[in-house]
């Protein structure tokens, strides 16, 4: 699963730590999501999309084979 979290974060000019604090996870979790090592739960994906005032599908996109 691809994601544009890093881009969205750059648009809002917030750090990984700030985003992590807002959604209630560790900075390592945000880093793992950005580097596509970890796929977040639906709940966390919705929380992240709410921070960026967009939809989950705008940030997280399925790849071939997903």
């Amino acid at each position: 699963m691809k994601n544009t979290l890093k881009v969205e974060r750059a648009k809002l000019n917030i750090t990984q730590q700030e985003l992590a604090d807002k959604v209630g996870v560790s900075r390592q979790t945000i880093n793992s999501i950005e580097s596509e090592k970890y796929v977040p739960s639906t709940l966390l994906a919705i929380k992240i999309s709410e921070i960026f005032k967009t939809t989950v599908n705008e940030i997280f996109k399925l790849e071939n084979g997903d």
């Binding site: 604090d21 209630g24 996870v25 560790s26 880093n31 793992s32 090592k37 970890y38 709410e50």
Partner: protein, 138 residues
């Protein structure tokens, strides 16, 4: 909007138990090593007591480290713990099945696998697996 919903949820004991666990492991190790290194003469009952003390102390310490929560216990940590536990369980089952055949092939006679050893093996395997996942994600 500050969300605290994911932080520190789930089963586990307070994070301070990790330090306590490391302390217990060190005490158990030092006790065992000092008896071995200084060749202290012990009666069989004393020997059995110190063996049990060392082994059980080591297991208790590892259990504290394994159960202690992280500073932020979120869903990725929960997934890593689950994965480590599942992989260690499968490895322990394979070990118990394979060990008698390894004993038969390389040394006679076959030694029974004790419960204490399996528990120790599983705790060490779990911690190795969990921390290797954790540090590879940093």
């Amino acid at each position: 909007m500050e969300s605290k919903t994911n932080k520190n949820k789930g089963a586990g004991i307070h994070k301070h138990f990790k330090k306590m666990g490391i302390g217990i492991i060190l005490i158990a190790l030092l006790t065992g090593l000092s008896i071995k290194l200084w060749h202290i003469e012990l009666m069989p009952t004393q020997k059995a007591f110190f063996k049990a003390f060392t082994m059980n102390g080591f297991i208790l310490g590892l259990l504290f480290v394994a159960l202690a929560k992280e500073k932020i216990e979120d869903e990725m940590i929960a997934q890593m713990r689950l994965k480590a536990m599942a992989q260690t369980f499968i490895t322990a089952v394979i070990y118990v099945i394979v060990k008698p055949f390894m004993d038969l092939a390389f040394r006679d006679p076959i030694e029974d696998v004790t419960g204490q050893f399996v528990v120790l093996f599983m705790l060490l395997g779990y911690l190795l697996n969990y921390y290797s996942q954790k540090f590879s994600n940093k």
